[in-house]
Symmetry: C2
Subunit: 107 residues, 2 copies
Amino acid sequence: MIPELKFDEKGLISAIIQDAESNEVLMMAYMDKTAIEKTLKTGFTHFWSRSRQKYWMKGETSGNVQEVKEILYDCDEDTLLVKVIQRGAGACHTGERTCFFRSIKKS
Amino acid sequence: MIPELKFDEKGLISAIIQDAESNEVLMMAYMDKTAIEKTLKTGFTHFWSRSRQKYWMKGETSGNVQEVKEILYDCDEDTLLVKVIQRGAGACHTGERTCFFRSIKKS
């Protein structure tokens, strides 16, 4: 059951992907209504690629798929938080576990 | 030192706000270059409000400010992950600790 979500002018909604076990934020990507439906139906994250203008399943080539545990949405209904079990080496195409591996200001 | 970041056509970049202690994802908001500079200079999160078209410091009225511990950026340089100490009751204007308090699909 998909609630009323606010998609942007391109029909997209931001999806923050978080490791359900470590709580590490892994990546950010974009879904449209169909990508959400594909994700719910298969249990694995699917996104809309803005650069390639096509749907993709995370890990479809690398094998680093993301098994969905929970999808939350925020108070404004314009952002998703997808909690996943990250399979394989990690989420980032660089080989890093998370796409957020560089820091502007160290704590 | 702000690295080369990719701002969107409106000059904005998405900023995921994460609790530095619990690793809970608290909210998502938008920064432009000036908001990043204000955040770095003050040590507290500042954003650009797309609805109100003005800068705001998180907690400026509620007191629920966010002390910045670290700012990370992703492999594409188009998303920020800001780790904060959340002061006060929480991040969400509804009174919830996090803006992500509703779920589409329970685990």
